[in-house]
Symmetry: C2
Subunit: 488 residues, 2 copies
């Protein structure tokens, strides 16, 4: 199935004048307030390219920022180990990618616990098996049982080994990014990767207005290797930006464009994605809130900003604040994902598995979200209108009060007429009760067991696998032999 | 709070040419295939107004249908017992109305059971207490403990007694509709009601292409009293229409317009709403499916059809197939409601409380859905862009890496900056666990108990209340003394 093809009109929440107002405010932030870049080399690049550098604070000429932003491609292809699974960002494809970052996992049987490498591999497998999920993602969970210095190697290897879908590299340091590139080069070859990136990695801004050492180190590595980057201010409005969304969007825009401009200064034409992650805090308690109406407004408006600069756009999917995959999780997740789809996003991170404000990846939540992704694939087909679907003859052929079950037209279409649910239950109450009265959580747990037990890995050339494993072994020995050499 | 004010652009799923194709197909259904009207008087009215009547089958001249449809107002006000709670249908208001019709109720403590009049009253109270729900609805549940012949009286009385929001009348027979009008006249007065309806009632088409005896009897009563009607083909695509949505929409359009034209023949200018209820059957099992991608497509496209005829539009809200308020219910409900809002609907039936394909009203589900309605009220405010919300000074005043908690701008806005959740839980995992690790179902059960125990009825003139109760007493005696006289 692959990417969702979205040819419907994106929902434009903000009028064109509003987009310009946010643009102008962000230009003022860039020129008057500036951003902090905590990396000497990045500061030098910025200075060389005309930015005003004062300590770590950098102020920009708006016209120059726009000129550099204009060097970024409006779309690009990310190659996959299986060439049929390559994706394109910036066109009519919506690429769903799994949850990213949680230190914990939850499943119904074992409860909530720190994530391990085995969990990581399981989520790679679940994403691989999901026909609606064209991407393998990045740090699906933090494998806490592996040394922090080397776990990036295990993660990148797991993606390459257990899936043939496109993946994300590590951004936890410059050397870790370089390791990600080196592993990918074993599979894809350096030249092919310079042509079209094999990695699209997540560069987060430490909002407000700060690019930190680790992210800049990774950004430099990926830019020089011409690998893709999703440059995303991570904003909880009310804490990391004003509690008014217009200002939040202006700040986000300034932050994203500054990083994109830097990437273009380092490597003109380097593929980048305009990233948005707008959530908010509950101002009574300070707690973060995901999957809210505010998240929706942020997604729609951010998509319009990205379109203004002709950049591929990333937002988030099935965000939720709920601790468990209950009704709250369901409501919140659809609010997030629906806005992502209708905004016309190109890359949707956290499209399945996210729980608890991103602190936990849910096994059952993953397959619940997968059902939603399937439904969205159906939704995006829109309304097909032709003589066959208008079905006038079929309508005339059924008398008032009759039914269409078993008519010739129904028999010709029933197989692909409607989305076929994998998890959601449509049984009548009595049958559902007889079958154990299982709620969605219980059914999802069964589905997870079934998927993982049926999983078969995609073929991988044994020579490539060996080269990857050799690389892992060598790098682990180097890193664990001298951990200080790799930080940050 | 009242109605949601929706000034954002509705999402147009279908291109203008597509709307015209569906229109043309529906005109062919009206002129060539016709509809069945199972009421002699209705047939006579149709014949007098130029329709070709053959037995109970009626074929229409498309131009004549459009002429009669054109007599319906494009918007109208439904008056409420509390004048401040009157609503207008057909403008920028989205009026949410509760679940309609379930014979069963579910609550967490007592489980699923046949609904009673006490349940009915409880749902009136829950709707009354919900600030996001401007409407009291109609048959919130079927009170199975009351005689079928007289329960309509108890229902209408309960709405008038326990709420001061606008309500719906009975449609189970002509006399029951007349009783609804009589009770409303006690409160509102006949003249005021002819000016602006006090009742907006639900006339369902028995799709395909049949108006049955009961619905036509009720339609005649309400039209003559100039009361509002929501004329809604009830369609499960694949069973009651073709399994292709374009044909389903053409059939729905023909069905809705035929009933609207009949109402206008009886009483030109009578307020009507173009109703849509498009769900589908699971073609593997024949089971109905609600809250699906297909439901969404149906809602968006139907709204466009209603706009073509300048008619107020009704669709459905938090539909779901799930038997319990679990994650499935959450996903499905948002899919339904989100489409209702973004379609630009004017009247959203089943906006809270629906479970199990409409067979069951959930107490906890009601307050979960209410949270979603509150979030949609926030969403509909859209993005406010002005100097204050752009907050440039506040952005410049916080240094890179700092935070906006407690800034002057945050303090000035925090109270109404974000939607304030009533039920959804944003606590950190550890705190949530200490507080009992309650999922949404458990918290919703607590919320229901709290709401019902705090409920206080809106003031009602004792003389009016007495007149209503006298009417109930008299009509019950008449009906139960001679049940045969009232059917159908």
């Amino acid at each position: 199935m692959g990417s969702l093809k979205y040819d419907l009109p994106p929902l434009a929440l903000v009028r064109p004048e509003g987009v310009e107002e946010i643009h102008r405010a962000s230009m003022k932030i860039l020129s008057d307030y500036g951003l902090e870049f905590r990396d000497e080399e990045a500061l030098a690049v910025l200075r060389e390219n005309g930015a005003r550098v004062d300590g770590m604070k950098v102020r920009f000429d708006p016209a120059a920022v726009l000129e550099f932003v204009g060097k970024a491609p409006s779309s690009f292809t990310q190659i996959a180990r299986n060439p049929e699974r390559s994706v394109t960002l910036g066109t009519n494809e919506i690429v769903f990618s799994p949850v990213y970052g949680p230190p914990y996992v939850l499943d119904r049987e074992r409860g909530r616990r720190p994530a391990t490498l085995e969990d990581f591999r399981n989520f790679v497998k679940l994403a691989y098996l999901c026909p609606w999920m064209p991407h393998s993602g990045g740090t699906l969970v933090e494998p806490g049982d592996e040394p922090v210095e080397t776990r990036h190697l295990d993660m990148v290897y797991s993606h390459l080994k257990y899936s043939d879908k496109p993946l994300m590299g590590s951004v936890t340091s410059g050397p870790n990014a370089a390791d990600s590139v080196a592993l990918a080069e074993i599979v894809f070859g350096r030249e092919a990767m310079r042509e079209s990136p094999a990695l699209v990695s997540l560069i987060n801004v430490n909002s407000p207005r700060r690019y930190d050492e680790r992210m800049l180190a990774a950004l430099k590595v990926y830019a020089r290797a011409r690998q893709g980057m999703v440059i995303t201010p991570f904003i909880l409005a009310g804490a990391m930006s004003p509690c008014t969304l217009a200002g939040t969007l202006a700040q986000q825009n300034a932050e994203a464009l500054a990083g994109i401009a830097l990437a273009q200064m380092i490597e003109p034409g380097c593929p980048v994605v305009y990233g948005s992650f707008v959530a908010n805090v509950d101002l009574r308690s300070g707690a973060p809130v995901f999957g809210s109406a505010e998240t929706q407004i942020g997604a729609y408006a951010s998509a319009q900003m990205a379109r203004r600069y002709r950049l591929p756009f990333r937002t988030s999917g099935t965000l939720c604040t709920s601790k468990v995959p209950d009704a709250q999780a369901g409501y919140e997740s659809v609010l997030g994902l629906q806005a992502a789809v209708l905004s016309g996003a190109h890359f949707v991170l956290h499209a399945a598995g996210w729980l608890e404000g991103g602190l936990c990846a849910g096994y059952e939540k993953f397959v619940m979200d997968a059902e939603l992704l399937g439904m969205m694939h159906t939704w995006a087909k829109g309304l097909v209108i032709d003589d066959d679907t208008l079905a006038l003859e079929a309508i005339g052929g059924v008398e008032p009060g009759g039914h269409h079950l078993g008519t010739e037209h129904t028999m010709a279409h029933y197989k692909e007429a409607f989305y076929e649910a994998q998890l959601f239950n449509y049984e009548a109450f009595e049958i559902w009760r007889e079958n154990g009265a299982k709620d969605a959580y219980e059914r999802a747990a069964e589905k997870v067991r079934e998927l993982l037990s049926d999983y078969e890995p995609p073929p991988l050339d044994p020579a490539v696998d060996e080269a990857l494993r050799d690389c892992l072994k060598r790098r682990k020995a180097e890193i664990l032999g001298n951990p200080a050499a790799v930080a940050p």
